[in-house]
Symmetry: C2
Subunit: 146 residues, 2 copies
DNA sequence: AGCGATTTAATTGAACACAATCGAATTTGA
DNA sequence: TCAAATTCGATTGTGTTCAATTAAATCGCT
């Protein structure tokens, strides 16, 4: 063991984590292009498909994204006609976003994406489950701010 | 099982992978700030510490980064005085980068970073090993371009 | 009621990240 | 040999990503 072994790329968890995340996201791009969505717009739509009307703050919390990232994403989705943005009647500070009919229609076309990606990621069902569990363990253990 | 279950955030591996990668990288920022390095500059320096003089192309290959990302990173490291950039005598197209004395000195100060990060990521030795293996399995199975 | 603290998005600035393209240098192959 | 293809890096454009700040609205406390 050398004095600097801990600084080797091959010994740091952060590196394969960071690299594989980017590589996986890139796998989505060709499929998402057909839906005129970026990856970030896609995961935002996933929240809206599942939850319907929801506040921007909650979307950010679910996706671990702050307003600096989310604001332009939501504006872009509104511009494409996939969502509406409106202020809450009860609290004018709250931005409510909701999928439009066109936005909900996208869901149908998006259905084939997870299937295609699943084929490209060569893990067994069990491995994927283990990975999934470990990643959520990391996310859960992080110093949250709430 | 609903028709759209595959599109739920909670069923997609990409999501916790993407989110945890960003969160982990953010754990580095406060420590790296003391070294006047960004995370990308840090992993680039890790390659140079380990390999010494190396071509920009090889750095990009090791880090899974393309020239559009790497060019400004290497220029910035040169500006800080941590690396030199020069053209290969054998092939003028090749950009050689190498750590300076100041760059190598940084290594000493960087030693404590992996240790601190390790504490923040609440995984056992075994879990980290499993995660590591699965992530490299993903990276190895990706459609490479070479 | 009213003032200070808090909450929520939006904005700004710096740094990635990748696709697409370009230009220079080199290699290949007829 | 020499034109075509390839390689390598830089550049440009679009889209994140987060920190820090701002501004508006609301809440809480007296």
């Amino acid at each position: 063991m050398g004095r600097y072994d801990s600084l080797k790329l091959g010994n740091q968890l952060c590196f394969p984590l960071y690299a594989s995340a980017r590589e996986i996201v890139n796998l989505y791009h060709p499929h998402l292009r057909e839906l005129d969505l970026t990856y970030t717009q896609y995961i935002a739509m996933m929240v809206l498909w599942e939850r319907g009307e929801i506040s921007a703050r909650e979307v950010g919390k679910l996706l671990f994204l702050d307003s600096g990232t989310l604001t332009p994403v939501l504006k872009s989705l509104e511009k494409k006609g996939y969502i509406t943005r409106s202020r809450s009647k009860e609290d004018e500070r709250v931005l409510l976003v909701a999928p439009t009919d066109a936005g909900m229609a996208l869901r149908e076309r998006a259905l084939e994406i997870p299937e295609k990606i699943g084929c490209a990621v060569r893990l067994t069902e069990e491995e994927a489950g283990t990975l999934y569990t470990l990643l959520y363990k990391i996310l859960a253990a992080l110093p949250e701010d709430e």
